[in-house]
């Protein structure tokens, strides 16, 4: 008997690591934002799994508050990232980080 708590915890951790790897190797900045979203999904799932097996009450309420806080902060960060991407594309005409670094010098 594994239990959904462990399954979701493992899935969340895997999503976080997959997202970090894709952020590191992505050559498109929009894809980097999408990878960040995958990291966010993993973090939220792991947070949810950590309160899933509890007896409820205060612990569940605190977990829910953390998840909502994480969702809102993550969404704000993504919005800022997308605005930066639009500004960078307008200035340099590309979304490849290496090309942007080359064009800057």
């Amino acid at each position: 008997m594994i239990g959904p708590q462990l399954i979701f915890l493992v899935t969340g951790t895997m999503l976080v690591f997959i997202g970090i790897v894709f952020i590191a190797y992505s050559r498109n900045m929009v894809k980097s934002v999408m990878s960040f979203q995958a990291v966010l999904f993993g973090a939220n799932l792991a947070l949810f799994a950590s309160v899933l097996g509890g007896a409820g009450g205060d612990r569940r309420l605190m977990g829910d508050s953390f998840i909502i806080f994480s969702i809102l902060v993550g969404a704000s960060v993504e919005a800022v990232g997308l605005a930066l991407i639009a500004a960078i594309h307008r200035r340099y005409g590309t979304l490849n980080p290496e090309e942007i670094r080359r064009l800057r010098h």
């Binding site: 959904p4 399954i7 997959i18 929009v30 939220n44 993504e78 979304l95």
Partner: protein, 161 residues
């Protein structure tokens, strides 16, 4: 047992959708698959008795963030027509079918008992939310979300021309 199976199916769908989204060559394909991943995450939260978080996830990620990414993709012209159009459509159909299959499984698993939350076994308690809150509404909502997303992204090549 059934409890674990639902969790494993949902986790596998989530991982498959996210990895396909990040590996897809076209950004518009990634966007659609990430949209499905948001829906699956919302379904996970909803099935495990956290309707509020599920709703916030769906509204924030499947709604607002998807539209923002879509507008950035349109502005930057990243959605060029590729040669792998058929493959991406197959991936989209596969991911959509997986979501619908998991949701249908959850619905039919809770149907024979017909017990709302509070009665029956542990798995019935977990799946009770879907049975109580009229499952086909949720399924139809997911289908409408997916169809509208597909329609909007099909407009992208027209925009390029």
């Amino acid at each position: 047992m059934s409890n674990d199976l639902v969790a494993i199916l949902l986790s596998a769908t989530m991982l498959l959708t996210v990895v396909s989204a990040l590996l897809a060559k076209k950004v518009s394909t990634s966007l659609i698959l990430l949209f499905y991943a948001s829906l699956v995450l919302g379904v996970i939260f909803t099935i495990y008795d956290d309707e509020l978080i599920g709703l916030v996830t769906m509204i924030t990620f499947a709604g607002a963030i998807s539209v923002m990414i879509l507008s950035v993709v349109l502005m930057t012209g990243q959605s060029a027509i590729g040669t792998e159009r058929r493959n991406s459509q197959l991936m989209i159909i596969a991911a959509g079918a997986a979501v619908v299959a998991v949701a249908a499984f959850a619905v039919f698993a809770s149907a024979p008992g017909g017990t709302p939350a509070g009665g029956g076994g542990a798995s019935m308690q977990i799946l009770g939310f879907i049975w109580t809150y009229r499952p086909w509404d949720l399924l139809i909502l997911i289908m409408v979300f997916a169809a509208s997303m597909l329609t909007v992204t099909n407009l992208l090549p027209e925009e390029r021309r």
